[in-house]
């Protein structure tokens, strides 16, 4: 099923393991990140942050700071209030403080900003600002937040409780009936903890307002520059920043993972400062600020139930979830999807009845709920269903692989309409799981496990057969701030047959400069090496919604193919003119039009390009270029099956991942090496929260994991060796049959790991462990169960 490679290595179209074009500059240290940019007369900003999770600001005294040499300004909420810029909307239609005028709502919230001529002076001035606080009772536990006597956090919105929204989907009554009629019901509480994307580059910007031209240029760590430009125009239109005067440039980005979609207060303060002072202002967060104040991900308290027949046919799924959003709903989901695409939670299984409800609450924690490499709450959904299938298998005393085979949506059921309303485009779930089982030697491992168990050793095998939902999205359902979630490509062929292609997306390490070039090479036969790809400058790139949710290949990748096809259609006309035949007499092979039956008569795409500027047909416009805005007809549904084998050290509780096999299916593959890189990275980002990562707060709302000392990112030493493989089930509606792959592994991996650990401990009656699975947690279970 491997996609056919149709182009030569010189052209390097789809399927070639082309080395990444962008790597040379990164490997030579010549990448250009926001913090590499220095503008003449640039000022530096640093931020005073709240030590309290909930407090009233009684006073801010900046006298000492303002007296320091080099301090240009101190900005507070009161200053921004004069311009009505102290609050801003979030992408979810909630409101967020830029700087507070009254109360702070989480520890490390921005309180005031210092602008100075030097980064070091700015830091010293921050220390010199005296803020007097009156601490208020914090609300940290989201269940406590819903109690009638809990302090109400958003009184500014006229609220009388901390409930944000209720969202539900599915047929409640039919699901209820299915549960009543079920032979077997299993129920499990699952907490998916608050984590952080922790990209290696933190967030930051340079705001450069030119008071003479009234033009604002913002260099910014953003995954979605166009959306930022429009949002700025909408928020700051009243202070004369209109959209044609705003240019957002997203240079090289050192990892985004969803954390660089939101518009953080720091950006807005820097912009306000630059407008007020008429000078460029740079703001770059440090690591602790990034971990403590920028958007978190996950934080779902899930109660999941499955109903099944006694022979293991799943009949219904019911999920109730409490979502902790911090003090404002600053998630970055499409507008109509407050809980993202969580309703993909029926997963890879043919479940007739399902009902899901999510309630969101405010707490005194940082805002967010961003999609950390998980296409809008898909990790939460996959974790819930993949855990529950194992809980059910344990209850039925059935092999978890067998239970999955019994319930998979079968290949002939596609396109498949799920009980919660999605139309899955394509899939072959049994093939992926079978392949993973063969690669890892599943049956042999089960025999080994039985022997080890007899010796009292702890070995576990875990499966995750996930279905992703990516590529947002079809404009009838998906928008951000009302802007439909299409994406775009503007393709221009130069006279010498080279090309430049610009996109509305923005790579943060995904390899767009290579992947998009290969798509255009595939479609036009112009060598990928000759295709220059540009993104991230709103003055030059066509409008697009940016890169997140594994959407770049499904949307902008499709736009590249469509734009190239438009170019090819014009090229055909020029070729017919040059060869003096009719268009119908031509046949296309990558890079060449030939006359049917006279293969010697041909013209290359390079010759056609030259003719487009030097000898184009009479009556035809000169040039060879096209623009395409691609609105996908549906989402794409990548999938895979992962199997993990663990051994547990009884003495210490340490879990050792012995093997991990990942079979992924993302449809047709554009660059296998980039896909493998995405999967290796994604698996590591799935492993991390499964075993190590968590943002932990104490009951006062103090963050206990505010640096990499305590927020644990795995290194190469801890990370297991990944064994990857693939099946290919093309998307029927994507022009290239591709599906997107950036997030599959992050979404699918945690459940495989947890399922393996629970499997190892199942002889002692363990049915579930919340992530992260730390040695302490495992030891505690072993201790409580009397194993040690």
């Amino acid at each position: 099923m491997e996609a056919e490679v149709r182009t030569s290595p010189t052209i390097c179209g789809m399927g070639h393991r082309m080395k990444r074009k962008e790597d040379a500059r990164f490997l030579f240290g010549k990448g250009r990140y926001v913090d590499d940019i220095k503008l003449p007369g640039m000022l530096y900003m640093d931020i005073v942050r709240s030590p309290f999770a909930h407090a009233r600001i009684k006073s801010i005294n900046a006298e000492r700071a303002l007296a320091m040499d080099g301090v240009v300004a101190v900005i507070t909420g009161k200053d921004l209030e004069k311009y009505n810029l102290h609050w801003m909307p979030t992408l979810m239609g909630d409101t967020q403080m830029v700087l507070p005028t009254d109360r702070v709502m989480y520890q490390a919230q921005e309180v005031a900003a210092v602008i100075a001529t030097d980064r070091y002076i700015a830091a010293d001035a921050v220390e010199a600002i005296e803020v007097e606080y009156e601490p208020l009772e914090p609300v940290i536990d989201p269940f406590r937040a819903l109690e009638p006597d809990a302090p109400v956090l958003r009184t500014d919105k006229g609220k009388t409780d901390n409930h944000i929204w209720h969202w539900e989907v599915g047929d409640r009554e039919a699901t209820e009936r299915a549960f009543q009629e079920a032979d077997v019901v299993v129920k499990q509480q699952i907490y998916i903890p608050r984590i952080h994307v922790a990209s290696i580059e933190t967030c930051g910007c340079i705001a450069d307002y030119n008071p003479v031209e009234g033009k604002l240029t913002v260099y910014m760590t953003t995954q979605a520059p166009h959306v930022v430009r429009t949002a700025l125009a909408l928020v700051a239109g009243h202070v004369s920043l209109s959209e044609e005067k705003i240019r957002v440039i997203s240079p090289d980005i050192g990892g985004g993972f969803g954390g660089k979609v939101p518009i953080y207060p720091g950006y807005v303060i820097a912009i306000a400062a630059s407008v007020l002072l008429g000078r460029p202002v740079k703001w770059i967060e440090d690591r602790s600020e990034n971990l403590q104040a920028d958007s978190f991900a996950r934080d779902y308290h899930i109660t999941a139930e499955l109903a099944a027949t006694k022979d293991g046919k799943i009949t219904a799924l019911r999920i109730k979830t409490l979502a902790d959003h911090g003090y404002t709903d600053a998630a970055a989901n499409p507008s109509k999807f407050p809980a993202g695409l969580f309703s993909i939670c029926t997963g890879s299984y043919d479940i007739k009845h399902a009902f899901v409800e999510v309630d969101a609450v405010y707490t005194n924690k940082p805002p967010g709920g961003v999609a950390y490499r998980c296409s809008f709450r898909v990790t939460e959904a996959v974790h819930a269903i993949e855990r529950m299938v194992d809980v059910l298998a344990q209850k039925l005393d059935m092999d978890p692989a067998e239970l999955r085979f019994k319930n998979f949506i079968q290949p002939d059921q596609f396109p498949y309409k799920s009980a919660l309303g999605w139309e899955y485009d394509s899939g072959n779930y049994p093939a992926a799981l079978r392949k993973a089982m063969d690669l890892i030697g599943y049956e042999e491992l089960r025999r080994e496990q039985a022997e080890r168990r007899a010796r009292g050793e702890l070995m576990g095998i875990g499966i995750s057969s996930f279905t992703e939902i990516v590529g947002a999205g079809p404009s009838r359902h998906f928008d951000i701030l009302g802007i439909k979630m299409f994406d775009s490509c503007e393709l221009r062929i130069h006279p010498t047959g080279k090309a430049i292609a610009r996109f509305g997306t923005k790579s943060q390490g995904q390899g767009h400069e290579t992947t998009y070039a290969q798509i255009i090479a595939e479609e036009l036969g112009i060598p990928a090496a000759h295709v220059q790809v540009e993104e991230g400058d709103t003055d030059t790139a066509p409008y697009g919604l940016g890169t997140y949710a594994s959407r770049s290949t499904p949307t902008a990748g499709a736009a590249a193919a469509m734009a190239a096809r438009k170019v090819r259609e014009k090229a055909r006309k020029i070729a017919a003119y040059l060869l003096e035949v009719s268009e119908e007499d031509l046949e296309w092979e990558p890079g060449v039009f030939r006359v049917k039956g006279a293969p010697d008569k041909s013209v290359t795409i390079q010759e056609i390009a030259f003719a487009a500027y030097t000898n184009h047909p009479p009556g035809m416009e000169a040039g060879l270029e096209a623009v395409h805005y691609y609105d996908p007809p549906n989402l794409t549904f990548p999938f895979g099956s992962y199997i993990c084998v663990v051994d547990i050290d009884k003495g210490t509780g340490q879990v050792k991942i012995r093997r991990f096999v990942a079979v992924d299916d993302c449809g047709h593959v554009i660059n296998p090496m980039i896909v493998e890189g995405q999967i290796h990275g994604g698996l590591t980002m799935g492993f991390a929260p499964a075993m190590m990562e968590e943002l932990v707060y104490d009951e006062e709302g103090n963050i206990l994991t505010g640096s990499f000392m305590d927020y644990l990112l795995p290194t190469a030493v801890e990370t297991p060796r990944w064994e990857t493989a693939r099946t290919v089930t093309p998307s029927p509606h994507h022009p290239l049959g591709a599906k997107g792959v950036g997030e599959s592994a992050t979404v699918g991996a945690p459940a495989a790991i947890v399922n393996a650990v629970v499997d190892a401990l199942s002889p002692y009656g363990v049915t579930h462990i919340d992530i992260p699975i730390t040695p302490y947690k495992v030891w505690k279970i072993l201790h409580e169960k009397g194993v040690v």
Partner: protein, 291 residues
């Protein structure tokens, strides 16, 4: 992550360094590898006015055996311990301990003296130096004095070093034949401080009894600990599994860990017991291997 302003001094002799230290008193800090001090300054947890860098002071980076000791200059970097054939061959406990410290980048800069003088109970060398019964050589305006490692660590980040003294060397007794050592550390990831760690150094007499036992514990109290009761229980005895277990149990009782994100105090005590057993077993194997 930006420290307040400070002055940097790079003396070229020990006398000059001591004079600077005396001149600036408690406002000065000695800079060795800087991999604990500089992060604390960047977090503004420490705000010294003067840094006195010892890197240009000669004679502080020797590794040599003399008079029955291994002499380590205080400025010997961790990477030098890792790569020195003598350490690897004759001081496996020290070699193993060094390999567990932080990560290669930190070990390229961090020094053995800094690791000790910092007084952090999470550092790895203190337990090992206690297990070896090492001596720490310090120099001050009143001349040189020698402090046993087991008496050096007084409180949280507090050592027996006077504010005007500088740690210049460490002396580790060269182990006799039939000796062995091992370091067992449980950490959450590379570069983490220990959830618990145990250093064991032992020697066997001709008759198979234990002629020397030193056990040090890392990060399970406000100071690094010498497991005195465990050592006494084993000293002169045959290392039977029961006796090892009893000594391990004593170590777990005598430590005083705090609950934190690494685990509860109860867990850490259990880990001390488990790691003591494991370290002892490996040390014993090495001793019996006729090293």
């Amino acid at each position: 992550m930006i420290p307040p302003p400070f002055t940097y001094a790079a003396p070229t002799s020990l006398e000059e360094a001591l004079a600077l230290l005396q001149q600036h008193g408690p406002m000065a800090k000695i800079l060795a590898g800087g991999h604990s001090l500089l992060p604390m300054m960047k977090l503004r947890l420490l705000e010294p006015e003067v840094l006195i860098d010892l890197r240009r002071v000669p004679g502080l980076a020797d590794i040599r055996e003399e008079n029955g000791y291994l002499h380590l200059g205080a400025m010997v970097r961790e990477v030098e311990l890792e790569e020195h054939p003598l350490i690897r061959a004759k001081y496996p406990l020290l070699y193993e301990t060094t390999r567990w410290i932080a990560d290669p980048q930190v070990r390229n800069m961090g020094t053995v003296g800094g690791n000790l003088a910092h007084g952090d109970p999470g550092n790895d060398h203190p337990a090992t130096m206690m297990a070896y019964d090492a001596q720490l050589v310090v120099v001050g305006p009143r001349g040189e004095r020698v402090i046993p490692a087991r008496e050096f660590f007084l409180d949280f980040y507090t050592t027996a070093l006077e504010p005007d003294e500088i740690l210049t060397a460490i002396r580790i007794p060269t182990p006799p034949p039939r000796s062995g050592g091992a370091y067992e550390k449980l950490e959450r990831k590379v570069g983490d401080y220990a959830t618990a760690a145990v250093a064991v150094q032992l020697s066997l007499a001709e008759d198979g009894t234990l002629s020397y036992v030193g056990i040090g514990l890392t990060n399970v109290a406000h100071v690094p600990l010498f497991a005195a009761r465990s050592c006494a229980h084993l000293q002169g005895q045959r290392p039977t599994p029961e006796r090892i277990d009893e000594a391990a149990q004593m170590a777990s009782e005598d430590c005083n860990p705090r609950s934190d994100l690494r685990g509860s105090a109860e867990y850490k005590r259990a880990m001390v017991r488990e790691l003591t057993r494991r370290a002892f077993r490996r040390a014993l194997e090495r001793a019996q291997g006729g090293q």
